[in-house]
Amino acid sequence: MTATTVIAAEPEPRLARIRSVNRRILAAAWGMSSFKVGFFVFIALLLASAIYPEVSSVSATKMVVKDKFLAPVYLGDKWTWDHVLGTDQLGRDILMRSLIGLRYSLLVGIVTVLLIFIIGCGLGLFAGFKGKWWDTIIMRITDAQLSIPMIILAITILGVSRPTVPTIIIVLALSGWPLYARVARSAAVAERGKEYVRGLRVLGAGDWRILLLFAAPNILPPIAFVAVLDVARMMIFEAILGFLGLGIQPPTPSFGSIIADSRKYLLNAWWIGTIPGIFLAVALTSINLMGSALEKARNRIYGGL
């Protein structure tokens, strides 16, 4: 890999010492080609899903029955330039539906991970720092929550209440925070015993002051880098919910429901399910490439790997 040689060749000890650990992790990740590929693909998809539906006159939900089952350009016997990626069983444009689906998918994924991060890390830091009873109570609740598989919890709640974007986000966040609480707690416990924390105690700083101003900036960034991977995981969960009929409800397109509907037409119109699937897989791959590059960079900076 060329990327690693670049990093190894650039040590310049003085500069490295001045830059903070987080900046170094970001720089190391940026040095990897996989991160750059993921980043540019992600930005392209983000822009496409943000801009194209706004400027295009094509509707994602309007049905044109005479245009149904049009194949993607050059890939079937019936196609037009009006629908570059073809149309579905009701004559709706697949490109537009995929982009709108991507929009919701990204929205759900990113907001959920933000929520999880705040709830999980908040509780974890608190438990780890306070110790004693708080620790026991919070961690046992975490264990209980962790032992209910996310999907069971999600379908239990969404199956009986009407799924909307906010409820989906809340449900996913509710079932996703325990892992973060665990990680943040163990980091906080390790941090609590450190020299500088004891020093601050001696200087008379209160728990909250130490926690928020000094410990959190040390503990959270490494967790945040890996949280990028969870955006992809949440997007998959959103799609799974849609697939089970518990996600964003039609006619608003979402990857899960599009793919679920397309099963019936798989043999004679493969593109209806395949193209949204590819969109989703490409978006997920780009996020995962960035996430794993960040994780690798983090491990390299922290663990010397």
Partner: protein, 326 residues
């Protein structure tokens, strides 16, 4: 003695966890809108009939009373009776009125025990496939940190983790089962029906194993004792397989404990797609039908399985590396 003490402590904690889990699910089911009685008596039934049946079933009592009643049954090993499934196996459709207070409804315990072996079989096969896929890739990637083999492990992991399981399932059914007729896919009539769903699940689990294995093996290979082993004249094969891998296995075993809930969640969706007669399929059907006793039973079962496997995981980690605190 240490192990005995550990077991007693963890089992006590485990019981507490299962208790909290059951309380969470129990309350959630009753707080969230969606009345099972409406589905049982059918959409056309007048409201007073709904109320009458609900009262008779005890669904209008305060939640804490209902929970107490449920717990009393649970302590005697009775998880209650399904609202929707008669003993004969047919699902009662809405409108077709079956009196749920009568004793001809299936016992939840029976429903779960009947399906648990299928799910365990699927989960076991999936884990086996995942290990078969990820060990060669992960070990090669971990040993050669800056070579193409590491890049391969990295790429494979990024790709596998990005494939939505339900999409892969559909594509594999289309190609392997319908087009090429290699493997059967839907339902269950024998062992060969496990292979395809297990493969899909394996693809979902493998990236986590590959990632942990490459990282931890890479770290272990840099440890001083590996260099010493080389000086002692041990062969490379011996160093990797009996020294490095043993140490790298601890994070891996821990990972399995944590990723278990992902595995269970995956099983659920995959079973639903493949119409596999396991617990996951039962869950989806029960949730859609608001079959409270079955959902509660499944939640308690999965959390018990989760707790049990996590105890085993910690025990195994301790046996591999006695320095691990338990």
């Amino acid at each position: 003695m240490l192990i005995l003490e550990f077991l007693v402590k963890r089992i006590a904690q485990g019981l507490l966890i299962v208790f909290i889990t059951s309380l969470i699910i129990f309350t959630l089911l009753r707080v969230v809108p969606g009345d099972p009685v409406r589905l049982i008596v059918g959409g056309m039934a007048p409201p007073d009939v709904v109320e009458k049946v609900a009262t008779k079933m005890g669904l209008r009592d305060p939640i804490i009373v209902q929970y107490g009643r449920y717990m009393r049954g649970l302590l005697q090993g009775d998880l209650g009776q399904s609202y929707l499934r008669p003993r004969s196996g047919m699902i009662a459709a809405g409108g077709q009125y079956v009196d749920p207070t009568k004793s001809d409804m299936a016992l939840v315990t029976d429903l779960i025990l009947e399906r648990l072996p299928f799910t365990l079989q699927l989960g076991g096969m999936a884990l086996l496939f995942a290990l078969l896929i990820s060990f060669p890739v992960g070990i090669a990637g971990g040993l050669h940190q800056h070579r193409w083999r590491n890049a391969l492990a990295f790429g494979m992991q990024s790709l596998f983790v990005s494939i939505p399981n339900f999409w892969l399932a559909i594509v594999l059914i289309l190609f392997l089962s319908i087009k090429l007729k290699l493997l059967p896919a839907l339902g269950y009539q024998g062992f060969s029906y496990v292979i395809l769903p297990a493969l899909v699940l394996a693809v979902e689990i493998a990236p986590f194993i590959i990632r942990t294995l490459t990282t931890s093996l890479g770290e272990v290979m840099q440890a001083p004792f590996i260099d010493e082993a080389r000086v002692r004249g041990l062969s490379r094969r011996r160093i990797v397989y009996s020294h490095a891998l043993r140490n790298a296995a601890v994070p891996l075993v821990n990972l399995l404990g944590i990723q278990l809930s992902t595995l269970i969640g995956g099983v659920l969706v995959i079973e639903y797609i493949f119409d596999y007669p396991g617990l996951g399929n039962l869950t989806v059907v029960s949730v859609v039908g608001r079959d409270f006793p079955v959902i509660q039973g499944i939640a308690i079962t999965t959390s018990a399985v989760f707790v049990f496997i996590n105890i085993i995981v910690d025990l195994v980690a301790y046996l591999i590396d006695p320095r691990v605190e338990i």
